[in-house]
Symmetry: C2
Subunit: 218 residues, 2 copies
DNA sequence: AGAAAAATTAAACGATTGTTTAAATTTTGG
DNA sequence: CCAAAATTTAAACAATCGTTTAATTTTTCT
């Protein structure tokens, strides 16, 4: 009889999970580079070095497998925000730290922002993203902190949403546009990475100066 | 015998091009929303309200049709740059005008930045983009103007490439992330469009202040 | 009006898609 | 050690993919 893998059963058995993990790793790699529509389950199976049916055995369907990969990616994608927003810092300090961490993270995982935005953009089901993705951010109290900072005049009068767009624009797009930038300027990958490392400082200075205008060091 | 449509022949005949244009319009719509891999030629044919073979009759293949749509989109994508850079203005004026025009344009065509970056990102052939896309920009002399502005101290010491990334980040990403932003903040499309119209002013002020630090109005 | 050319359609092509079935192999637990 | 369970494989499923063929309709030009 056909049975699904360990983690879907009520009484999971201790098993070698390496196959399942290998499939997840392969799926992540293939989905990230080719996209959901741009690859077949056989592409993933070939990357695993194994049979197609194994994917359905462990993950039921291509769609389910993708959702799993997407949720993991989304978690990584938001991780820095949650960490920084949860810390005990001023808004200005948090902004600096966030830019710092996001750049460091995306320098190591440059394909993530494009993967996330692309998946959301072509979300086939049309279903909105589960709220549990964004709830952890709201729970950090960052929104209240921003409201308070506006009341006290620490930060410029600007809507939370515009702040978000400014931040994300400057920390996500540079990595989403790597290929475009390379071809536009005719440079190699290493040169661009140097530019991106330098870019971190520019973004920090620009955003801090814009969002926290009166730079009183007193 | 099988013959290809008018514009591919040596001696084109005057013909009703409305069908060909209808296919291009449908293809643009479908490719923009679903992506090359996310749609079938039958999706496009259905959008046209006609037969599948017509697409191959006029455009030889799905890939050729896509290339045509992509080139048109790329042309639109770069149009504002070429116009502004060709004008007879100072660098600061050009920066302001470019942001203004890009925002106005992408407010009307918000799906364009994602389409372009996504197409470049998953470029199957691996071939670099034809140089005729970017040449018109170089020919405006904008690069020399920027070098001169750096020498004279009009603009901050920052590489041309970092300037480009800063500009593109702030004028492209806000439209690429529309769905993410909407779901993140739980707002409707109209509210977000208001935010984006307001965002234009923020981006202008922020980038001008950063790139042209000594704001001497003398 | 009538023959030639162009446009459009219907049908089919082989290849590939995601998924399922059933058999074979390996691992587990008594 | 051996039956039962879990894992892996090979093969096939119907559906859809991009494309082509051939027939039909429409348009063009004399």
């Amino acid at each position: 009889m056909f049975k699904f893998a360990a983690q879907y059963e009520n009484q999971p058995m201790k098993r070698d999970l390496s196959t399942e993990e290998k499939i997840k790793a392969a799926a992540k790699k293939v989905f990230m580079t080719k996209g959901f529509d741009g690859c077949s389950v056989r592409d993933i199976a070939k990357e695993v070095g194994s049979n197609v049916s194994l994917l359905n055995y462990y993950f039921r369907s291509k769609e389910k497998l993708f959702e799993l990969i997407f949720e993991g990616a989304m978690s990584d994608f938001l991780q820095s925000m949650i960490e920084v927003f949860s810390s005990d810092l001023t808004l200005k300090e948090k902004t600096t730290l966030l830019i710092e961490k996001e750049f460091d993270f995306f320098l190591e995982h440059p394909e993530l922002p494009m993967f996330i935005l692309q998946a959301i953009h072509q979300n086939k089901s049309g279903a909105p993203m589960p709220s549990h993705f964004f709830e952890p951010i709201a729970k950090t109290g960052i929104f209240q902190q921003l409201e308070a900072a506006q009341a006290s005049g620490e930060i410029r009068q600007i809507s939370l949403r515009n702040v978000t767009i400014l931040l994300m624009s400057n920390v996500h797009y540079p990595f989403m546009s790597k290929k475009l930038t390379q071809q536009f300027h005719g440079i190699d990958a290493e040169t661009l990475d140097q530019d991106l490392r330098a870019h971190k400082a520019y973004v920090k200075e620009m955003l801090i100066n814009f969002l926290f205008p009166q730079n009183q060091t007193v």
